[in-house]
């Protein structure tokens, strides 16, 4: 299934990038190069070959591990994209770390007493934060913590040889703007799951049996309330990557998001196609992982798998 999705995706990516209008040679050489030089470069890049031929030769290269050479950046696509992907994953992981525990904790507290003061306050704050595009929260964070207070560096790329703590300090603002983007969504899903589980028969039975409420929540409810949350995180990886495009551009963090943005603007087709394929791969894997985790957490599905 994974392979089918990727095959379809690779075809789509290539088709979209292939029909991008715009003269690659002109973009690379700038407005003041002669027409002859531009044509010569286009020939060299194989731009005049038919699309199917270009797709097959690209796909062949991809399978062999040769993802081509970037048109604009004097370097091979695969190592560059992998390096950037690694950075983006680090940022995304940091964002999830800032996001998941507080959101789940808030959801558990809020879900125990729906419509309490706490529930309402967190809901409203979460809603407002989730409604702000990441470029708005990012700009506001920069203004407050970077410029007015001067507590945090305004660019995310840590200097050479920075330790872990130092790197985390540099990444705090971008990770925070990503986390705020998803907080409301996760909080609401987890809270709904929590309320639903608390209302089910077995929970009521467990409480009636005289088990302490805290223990019930820990043993039964939490796990069941986590289930939809796992799916949500899997499905939101797409949003997260979209957020990366903006946040990385805003905070000057050389990750895959800013790279794919630059490749699209510069019409650097090998780079664009390579990055898009890599992002698709990660997204598909994340969803697969979320499905597996869901299965592992959910006794019913686990059981069903055993039967198959």
């Amino acid at each position: 299934m994974l392979l089918v999705t990727l095959a379809v995706a690779s075809l789509l990516i290539f088709l979209i990038t292939a029909v991008l209008p715009g003269n690659v040679g002109r973009i690379i050489l700038g407005p003041f190069a002669s027409e002859a030089a531009v044509e010569s470069l286009n020939r060299e890049l194989g731009m005049e070959q038919p699309v199917p031929v270009r797709y097959l030769s690209w796909m062949g290269g991809v399978l062999r591990g040769d993802w081509g050479q970037s048109h604009t950046l004097d370097t091979a696509v695969l190592p560059l994209a992998l390096e950037r992907l690694g950075r983006s994953l680090l940022l995304a992981a940091y964002a999830l770390l800032l996001l998941v525990p507080p959101a789940l904790l808030a959801a558990v507290i809020a879900g125990r007493r729906p419509d309490s003061m706490f529930d309402r306050t967190v809901s409203v704050i979460g809603l407002s934060l989730g409604a702000m595009p990441e470029f708005v929260t990012g700009v506001l964070l920069i203004m407050v913590f970077g410029v007015l207070l001067g507590w945090l560096p305004v660019q995310a790329l840590p200097p050479e040889g920075a330790g872990l703590l130092e790197s985390l300090r540099y990444l705090l603002m971008p990770a925070l703007s990503l986390a705020l983007l998803l907080f409301a969504y996760l909080f609401r899903m987890a809270r709904a799951g929590m309320i639903q589980e608390l209302g089910t028969a077995y929970t009521r039975t467990a409480v009636l049996k005289g088990l302490p409420r805290g223990a019930v929540i820990r043993r039964h409810v939490l796990r069941n309330a986590l289930l939809p949350t796992v799916t949500v995180i899997g499905a939101q990886v797409g949003w997260l990557v979209g957020g990366l495009v903006v946040v990385e551009t805003l905070f000057r963090y050389p990750g895959i998001g800013s790279l794919v943005h630059a490749a699209a603007v510069d019409k650097d087709i090998p780079l664009l196609a390579g990055c898009a394929l890599l992002i698709t791969l990660v997204y598909t894997l994340a969803n697969l992982f979320a499905d597996l985790l869901y299965a592992a957490l959910n006794p019913r599905v686990r059981h069903a798998w055993g039967r198959d």
Partner: protein, 524 residues
């Protein structure tokens, strides 16, 4: 306003510039402040450079850094630390020797002989000789290579460059070129080893003051001092760290946050947050950089030159300079011969002022008294979209209804020479004929106005061939007068090149072409 101008220092106070600044009404303050308190970089007498240190430079994103293809501002700045030119134009556009020690012409500018500096070594230890210079220029004009510079060197062919001996190079041009030495200073003409094969990012070898030790695309470039540099004890700095940023805003933040010491260049609007910063000052250099509002003169409505002149008369240039650039520009007169060029001294054209009455009258004479509507295409860069809005407001006064088509820059460059009415940003070139010839000659590739004028073409050819300063100035005066009369493109102003630096940075200048020369730079 007072605050803005006070904080802009002028890196050079030569005669021409002072006159220009005074014309703008800001010269006295700026120059006075510079002399009174804050030492101008590189001009302070009582400070001697202290060696060592790392300079952190903020630049916009660079695409390729292959010298043959490089065209982005940051890419050029990276290349310029590693490689050097035969000559270099200083801030008053005088040439000074670099890899060539002296040069002379024969046959009235048809043949040029350059004597090379002896004992200059490439970063790989080999000596730079005439062979390398010949190979470099042959590459630049090789039609099989994707050379950006070839269109600027259309008078040179590969077999026109020869090594006379180990240290002398002869250029035999297809036609006389009076200012040829300036052309050896175009961005791409850094001297590379004869066996250069295109892999500059992997193996950057030049003769420059710094060695590129690490380059990460779209991220950073790190340089170490070249201890074998021919002009020892320069360079003073031990290390350079170039950071590449997406746009002006993050660079400005890096300056404010103390994460960068120098910013390659900045737009006027974006520079505003830096004016408050006590640690930063902004150097300014008048430049020939300008915007051309080109009008297709081969089709209606602009085929009638009265219509084109009406457009030029509708523009209030002083307002544009104030609103768009906060005064950091010099008014233009619809020709590209900026007053920074020595040739501009002989110009005696009256400054074109806004004259709506005359503009309306010209339109009426052209049977367009009821006005017309027209699409104006603009690439999205710097203040150009707002230029469009101002032009729209001003042209509405004379009945021209402008429909703005703002496009991403790459989209605009796809068709900028085709559109009927377009606004293009032009970079500064060291000699005026470089722009006159590529933008306005009848058969020039970048003649966006599709304007043809035989006398003009003849005079441009003459100017290109003319080595004598006074004759050049006279020719420029005639050419400017034709353009001012015909207005294939309205040129409202010449911007100043702005370069923010941290207060402890010495020996750096703002540059009209945004060249970044750090040979003399040091940290106090």
């Amino acid at each position: 306003m007072a605050r803005v101008t006070r904080r802009f220092h002028h890196s050079c106070v030569d005669r021409r510039r002072r006159r220009l600044l005074q014309a703008l009404g800001i010269g006295g303050a700026a120059v006075g402040m510079g002399a009174a308190g804050w030492p101008l970089p590189g001009l302070a007498g009582d400070e001697s450079p202290s060696p060592g240190g790392t300079l952190r430079v903020a630049l916009p994103q660079a695409s390729t850094i292959d010298p043959l293809r490089v065209s982005s501002g940051a890419g050029i700045a990276i290349v310029q630390q590693v490689g050097e030119y035969l000559v270099q134009a200083d801030e008053s556009l005088q040439l000074r020797p670099m890899l060539a020690t002296d040069w002379s012409s024969e046959e009235g500018g048809r043949t040029w002989l350059f004597r090379l500096r002896e004992g200059v070594r490439f970063h790989d230890g080999r000596e730079m000789t005439a062979e390398d210079v010949v190979a470099t220029f042959r590459r630049l004009v090789d039609p099989d290579l994707e050379s950006v510079a070839r269109s600027q060197l259309d008078f040179l062919s590969a077999d026109g460059v020869h090594a006379e001996d180990r240290y002398r190079v002869r250029f035999r041009l297809d036609r006389p070129v009076g200012a040829f030495p300036y052309y050896t200073h175009i961005y791409n003409a850094v001297i590379l080893p004869a066996d250069y094969d295109g892999g500059f990012a992997d193996n950057p070898v030049g003769t420059g003051p710094f060695r590129l030790t690490r380059f990460r695309p779209r991220e950073s470039a790190v340089f170490e001092r070249n201890p074998e540099y021919w002009d020892a004890p320069k360079p003073h700095l031990e290390r350079l760290e170039f950071g590449l940023y997406d746009g002006d805003q993050p660079q400005v933040l890096a300056m404010r946050g103390g994460e960068a010491d120098l910013m390659l260049f900045v737009g006027h609007t974006e520079s505003r947050p830096l004016l408050d910063d006590e640690d930063v000052r902004i150097l300014a250099a008048p430049s020939p950089q300008h915007r051309q509002l080109a009008m297709r003169s081969d089709r209606p409505p602009f085929e009638d030159r009265r219509v084109r002149r009406a457009v030029a008369l509708a523009l209030n240039r002083q307002s544009m300079v104030q609103a768009l650039l906060g005064g950091n520009a010099e008014r233009g007169n619809d020709h590209p011969v900026a007053s920074v060029y020595p040739e501009a001294d002989a110009l005696d054209l009256a400054q074109r002022e806004q004259d709506l009455e005359l503009a309306r009258q010209l339109l009426a004479e052209a049977d367009l008294g009821n006005g017309f509507s027209v699409d104006l295409h603009i690439g999205r860069i710097a203040e150009l979209p707002q230029y469009g809005v101002l032009a729209q407001q001003m042209l509405r006064e004379i009945g021209i209804d402008v429909n703005l088509q703002v496009e991403p820059l790459n989209t605009y460059y796809e068709h900028w020479t085709e559109v009927g009415f377009g606004l293009t940003d032009w970079v500064g070139r060291p000699v005026p004929e470089q722009i006159l010839s590529v933008a306005f000659r009848g058969d020039a590739e970048w003649n966006a106005a599709h304007w043809r004028h035989e006398t003009f073409d003849t005079l441009v050819r003459k100017l290109e061939a003319e080595p004598d300063a006074e004759a050049r100035a006279r020719l420029c005066a005639r050419l400017s007068a034709i353009l001012n009369e015909e207005v294939p493109a309205a040129i409202s102003y010449f911007t100043h090149a702005l370069r923010p630096i941290r207060r402890n940075v010495r020996g750096v200048r703002a540059d009209m072409s945004n060249y970044l020369d750090l040979t003399d730079a040091w940290l106090a």
